[in-house]
Symmetry: D2
Subunit: 348 residues, 4 copies
């Protein structure tokens, strides 16, 4: 089968690999649609290390090809989705509710395209299939559900971890795919004033459609001054960080009311320091909560329900389409954020 593998920093290439075989508890799915994530670009650039030859990708939609021993309740040919994070469900952390930290290693539940082969290929071997395969209702297309495995789950997770309550004011810093989903999530959770910040006007337009009441283009308006104006100097209840930089992290903390929550989704590199003034020297009853994409079939079931209900429509986020054969071209577009790309659909 064909698979997009990490060759060296700067190079992800399509290679031929043997079709995997489903062992006990596993399932093999034939990929029908997948996509590229910002994290994959970090891998491409060598900023996030994976072993040479690893198939990349963690956002699979497909049909069941074969089921390993002990995998029951599914049928061959069934159309399924699998989360980016594949918890076993049976280790101590999973049973304790920390499914994304499966096995007790940091981010241990993130396997696809990281510690095992991923979804940018013709076939994908799914570990702990009983915990992870979720059937897709017939009436939903692949593209309608393509955001579920990662960015929808992550973005909504940011809103959930923020503990957003009815009537809250929420700011989301950065409106890339994850930030946009956090904006949609903030609306779903009952925030009554949602402020989205980015420097790309096209993204801010999408933010408005997904629930932002106010958008701030930071290239034109100083966000913190504007946020304080909008909240009468009160600050926001919840600030969601969706980029992974010192600046956005710090802006989130500065935007918070005393007692507020910083819900962090970004992957940080380099240095991260705490601005003590904004942190009230530790006396502000602040919460800083980081969230890795929730996975597992129950999470997927819930997200599919949200899509099916029409509450949130993320399909417009698929701005470009490629064949798996063209994946290097897709990476080139996506990594350089050209042509207003938000997400690409890759079909084998």
């Amino acid at each position: 089968m064909k698979a997009a593998v990490f060759v060296r920093p700067g190079k992800i290439a399509l290679e031929e690999k043997p079709k995997p075989v489903a062992g006990p508890g596993q399932a093999l799915i034939k990929i029908t649609t997948t996509t590229i994530c910002g994290t994959d670009v970090h891998i491409l650039k060598g900023e996030f290390p994976v072993e040479v030859g690893r198939t990349i990708g963690h956002e699979p939609v497909g049909v069941i090809d074969t089921l390993g021993a002990g995998v029951t309740g599914y049928s061959i040919g069934q159309r399924v989705i699998v989360g980016a994070i594949t918890p076993c469900g049976q280790c101590h952390p999973c049973l304790d509710g920390h499914q994304a930290q499966c096995g007790g290693k940091a981010a241990g539940g993130w396997r696809f395209g990281n510690t095992i082969d991923g979804s940018q290929a013709e076939y994908l071997l799914v570990p702990n299939a009983m915990s992870n395969l979720e059937p897709i209702p017939d009436r939903l297309t692949d593209e309608q559900v393509l955001m579920c495995p990662d960015i929808m789950s992550t973005g909504f997770g940011g809103a959930e971890s923020g503990g957003i309550k009815i009537g809250d004011t929420v700011v989301i810093f950065a409106q890339g795919p994850i930030g946009l989903c956090a904006t949609a999530g903030a609306k779903l959770k009952g925030a009554s004033l949602i402020i989205a910040v980015d420097g790309v006007s096209a993204r801010l337009e999408v933010a408005k459609k997904l629930g932002a009441d106010v958008v701030i283009d930071y290239t034109k308006t100083e966000p913190l001054t504007e946020i304080m104006r909008l909240t009468n100097g009160r600050g926001v209840d919840v600030a969601i960080e969706a980029l992974g930089t010192q600046q956005t992290f710090e802006s989130c903390l500065r935007a918070l009311k005393p007692g507020g929550t910083l819900s962090s989704l970004g992957v940080y590199s380099g240095k991260l320091s705490m601005p003590l003034g904004a942190f009230a020297a530790g006396l502000g009853d602040h919460k800083i909560i980081t969230t890795l994409c929730p996975g597992g079939k129950e999470r997927m079931r819930r997200l599919l329900n949200v899509v099916a209900s029409g509450r949130v429509n993320l399909e417009p986020m698929v701005t470009h389409r490629f064949k798996l054969d063209q994946i290097e071209q897709a990476y080139e577009l996506f990594a350089n954020q050209r042509d207003g790309v938000l997400k690409v659909a890759i079909t084998p």
Copy 2:
């Protein structure tokens, strides 16, 4: 009346002030016992700014002298305690559950010895008396309850904010008065393995009495190696920071399991940076929660109940006693942590 006031950095002195008068909603209490806090030492050293002439101190035990208009349900001469934090109970943040952030300013609920005159004096004017005066049961002595207004409330708050569950493993970095109370709080909340870290063996002995199962003297043993050994490499569920330094903050984060909670009690100064490895680059589902001392009469009622039940006995923490006239001497001893001092009792 006599009052210990901030004169200039390096100088807190006893001065004569007019006896205050209780306005509407206020109460005047005659102090019977009070104490000195580490924060007061920061004020003394000029590290935490207060205005010149401010009476210091936020840990009052006393009897009601006069009640202002509208203060009902109490009687003159009644023995009461008041928390270090005095929420109004009626502003938006208080009604939203953020009582320590009363008024919406960071640490806004902390008034005594900060924004209004404090308890190291013969009389103390209590704002929002209806929210803050709590009668003390006759059978409890002043010294038995002297830790309630601040360190017991703060230390227990650290255990509570950590969300400690039955069977959790908890480490507390630093075993000063606040850290010792956090150790006691961790036991009260059902932790089954409590690890206390400090460099002073006398404090570690007290830690054992208050609930530590294991103590680590960091001058002799590298704490993180030992914590990982004790937890079979798993890390702790909750790490409580009780000092306010980069080193203890960072050690807490490094000691945490993926998905764990850092409960921060310290007051930070200088710089605070996030060690990205320990922070799992933001992917570890970590929580960092800061807690300012919970106040108000309901909190005091609960803490008095804990004292009355004998669950926790903090009386041995009072290691030295002084008259109010000797308060400069008391500061000298306490600020230099001489003679094994933990807390001092000051009586007018």
Copy 3:
């Protein structure tokens, strides 16, 4: 001034009363709009006892007439709203987060038209004004905010107490004003399948507009069979009871999945028994949570924000309008649920 008072079971009449005077901590507001609640009908019928001569009503919109001593931060003539429940904010239960149970008596926070005079009058005396007066933004009309004091707060409270999560399935039994607001609240909280049950088709039409995905007319379809069909036999995550009868309570419990939550808003009379089968004999990890209307100015601030954001539009629920002089006529219409009445606006 004129006031609608309870005369005897079956009789509420307009009487002349002296204009009240605001004492310390109180405010007097001139009512501009108020309404009638189902509870008022219970009072009218003698099913809920209040003393003879009590002014009825607990849903006030008005302007500040006078402020008592110690009430600061407001101005005469300011337009304000006050919740049906008026917590003091300063008693032990209030400080412990149980504001609706103010004072420690069951439903102790419900004073207006119950233990003190209410809002169906020209003037209303507001106790604990600092906790309870919330300014109304100029751009919102009286009728736009008229549902905030009680039914919006109660209905949303039912959704909040249910702990609704993104992707939940929720059923609401009864679509009177409270049930309709619970339906709107379920949508605000992120439920992805909302099922509304009632026997009046006009109410089911309103339910659809407020967020119901599916409506069940119980006069035509057996609700439990249909709920199980819609959930593939799984049951709902949360069932909200919004009527206060054995039948709706029992149907809620029968509709629940194991581990589900029954959020109860109704006022029960007569008998209430637990169907042991549906209760799984106590082994089903069920939660039954009752919620009295949350009050206080912070709650009102949040609800006004929801109205201002346009997230929820409850204005169409005002189906009829009366002058205070016509209030007996208004009761007659409302109590008999004639002419498709949902809520009436009463203006002095």
Copy 4:
């Protein structure tokens, strides 16, 4: 092998059965110690139906005999404990945190001695072994950990579901094995006044040792009057029901403060009605939460830690010892609560 099987109402008898064989995902353990539960007595009496021939018992301590395909990380001969409830960890309810309701059927996680053969036998087949086998530290004896699988987990669960906070007042109605564990759990969670109610003085003596501050013998003192006296008319924060009768359920509700929580552990039969006065007609912000014994290996790990720490010592609850051959005799003693029996240890 020998196994105690349900023959007919009134008759549990030792029979010869084939030694089971561990299939994929399963493990066979050789029982070293087990015990009898009140629920087993209900089965014996025919009050809780199981099929004829079912091996009874759900509290196993043993050593691993064989491991089925796919069960890794354990070794033959390893000493393990398994909870009464055996969640798969991989179905939707398990992944959603409702492990005791595994599979989505009420009490679906309770399999042993109910829907599959149980532990009162020489060998026990453990389903979903990866989720359920927990190694026992060498230094703990079988009898020290024998309460973990059910009564300790259930009793502590009652305290946990009650949401007990530091300084809470808690009453526990009935001090059988479950109630005694709830008493110990209330102490572990930080309650400062624990009131235990029963009619057997020997049980009340054990209650004192496990954490009760006050015991009430209901044959001598009217509990509700005494509870109100002890709480100054306030009522308790949390009431734990540990018997499963109308009377104890109702007494719990009557003992609650407004806003309090009834944590229900009992298995109810017959009728259960809600006393509307105590329920405040649904306006008291009450919570009623039922809890089925939490299971799974993470729960067992935590409980073993509690035992290992010495926080709670339940070993004295083992009052009698029998060989498996004598199990009918053990049932006879236990069912009739003779000789002050609390729990029996059964060894094959």
